[in-house]
Symmetry: C2
Subunit: 330 residues, 2 copies
């Protein structure tokens, strides 16, 4: 401020008036002060002020992959809630790597975020205990925390998956495949449990070759799908465990002569315009993000009590691919 | 640290040794210190250290909409480059609102980011001049800065659009519509210029009713497309100005009896599996992000010189929808 005052040829009081928008400065003087500010690159040092106040008005979001379309509406919803509370969103991807998740979470804590929304990659969140004890509010979303108690907002993966597989069974299928994400991921495990439960409830045996869990890259998923379709007990229907799997499954099935039924977990853009249109179990990604962020700000506003777990419903949307009857293989 | 020392019953020096991983501490003492740290929720105060060092090892990314699939790979690429340089990515959406862009950029500067990657919404970036003078490195991506000189990484929107429209003309079309984003957006203006140039180069007149610029929400785009298709001089082909427009155009065209040719700017997932598969002008969103972030870190490493503008090529991918001949309307 001294440099600005010297450069503009005015007193410190005048600079302060201009910066704070107070009256009593002529337009010409104001212009000179603003030019001096521009020339000197003067910036209000909010970092120092933030440290004094102890609040940064920012929250962190750790998700799995910024490029996965499922996380777009979720991130955007968290951001909108943060914005409504005057807070900035700081985010980053774990790339499904527990070490990277921990590194990112601790980096955000070191930057003094007020709270965290985490889509966890790891299976042990005890590293967060000192942060939680220090008062960093934390809400897990999409997947729960592991080995610690924490707020969580989840979709009903089990119920949605059971309904999806029951839907295929109701359309006459007996040999149904399931391709899902890595088994250590909570949502993948829950969706597998829904598949197994629906099959068991219908009294149907499950051949181990009909289940494949692992990374959701197109090569792995494509090979798994082809193996189930061309094996000795070929499937007539496939339940795809998330939108990444479904998109690859659509590609594999598009090239086959015999029709194969398909239900995917997660809705996705253009699912209704494919031929056949894709039947899905939709979860509401924006609502997941909004609910988690609202829970976080209630905690920051002082809401006490035990960690809560909220489960949001899913919705089966029949569009055609899930209603294809079993192919007659002659 | 004093509280930790008191609780663990050791001296300050011992706490310091444990925290900094120095030798000379028995395992039992180390355990007691760590337990005290956990119990007290002690956190290394990186904010204070950051202020002392004057570097935060973080960069800010301001984009238009976290939920637009075009920005997913771009954000992810910026994050990967930041990570390779040991920096955290802090990001947020402007929601195509210049005031919100400015608010977000200045909030990031107040948090002392080392640099900024900006997809601008505004048409006047002079508000950044004090920050630039203060040494905040800034690279614009997807769209250039307005009214200031700054580094920018862009796609060849003009050339790509001219090629798209020339492609439709080569397939026999004379009445070609263009639906684009708001005219104030640089990419929308450049794509319109490409459309007009290709039409002029072929000696074709352009009816004003064939051009519609505005928000890219489905209602606006759908109404514009229907009006061009059902008007007095109906179009036989449509050039869609970005992936949001194309997706709505696909929906509108799917319900028509007469085939209409379509080329979209931006590739999108599943474009090749639609019927007809959608011909697009693809830009490389990940490469845009990577190039911008690398330019930013070169500036942070001291690269001097005038602001640079890099233009990345686009690529026409013919898949079917752009090769449909003009419909015979009897």
């Amino acid at each position: 401020m001294k440099d600005v005052a010297a450069r503009a040829g005015v007193g410190l009081k005048t600079v302060s008036r201009v910066v704070n928008g107070e009256p009593g400065v002529t337009p010409d003087t104001e212009r000179r002060v603003r030019e001096a500010i521009t020339a000197l690159g003067f910036r209000r040092n909010d970092s120092a002020r933030i440290l004094r106040k102890g609040r940064t008005a920012s929250i962190g979001l750790v998700l799995e992959d910024l490029a996965d379309p499922f996380y777009g509406p979720l991130s955007r919803a968290v951001e909108e809630v943060a914005r409504a509370h005057g807070a900035l969103l700081i985010n980053g991807s774990s790339a499904e790597d527990p070490a990277r998740e921990q590194e990112l979470v601790l980096a955000l804590c070191a930057r003094r975020v007020d709270g965290l929304v985490i889509i966890p990659a790891g299976e042990d969140h005890r590293y967060l205990e000192p942060e939680l004890a220090a008062g960093v509010a934390t809400v897990f979303v999409d997947r729960p925390a592991a080995r610690i108690e924490a707020d969580a907002v989840l979709s009903d993966c089990f119920g949605g998956s059971r309904a999806a597989v029951a839907h295929l069974i109701a359309h006459g299928h007996r040999r149904i495949g399931f391709i899902g994400d890595r088994p250590g991921i909570h949502t993948a495990a829950e969706r597998l449990r829904g598949y197994r439960t629906a099959m068991a409830e219908a009294g149907l045996p499950v051949d181990p070759s009909w289940i494949s869990l692992g990374p959701t890259d197109p090569d792995r998923v494509g090979a798994a799908a082809r193996s189930m379709l061309d094996g000795p007990g070929p499937i007539t229907a496939l339940f795809a465990g998330n939108n990444r799997v479904t998109v690859t499954a659509v590609r594999v099935l598009a090239g086959r002569t015999l029709p194969v039924a398909l239900v995917g977990f997660d809705d996705f853009e253009l699912a209704d315009l494919l031929s056949p249109a894709v039947t899905v179990v939709a979860q509401d990604a924006a609502r997941l993000g909004r609910t988690a962020a609202e829970m976080l700000f209630r905690r920051l506003d002082g809401a006490a009590g035990e960690p809560r777990r909220v489960e949001l419903p899913t919705r089966l949307i029949a569009r055609g691919s899930g209603e294809i009857p079993p192919a007659d293989r002659g």
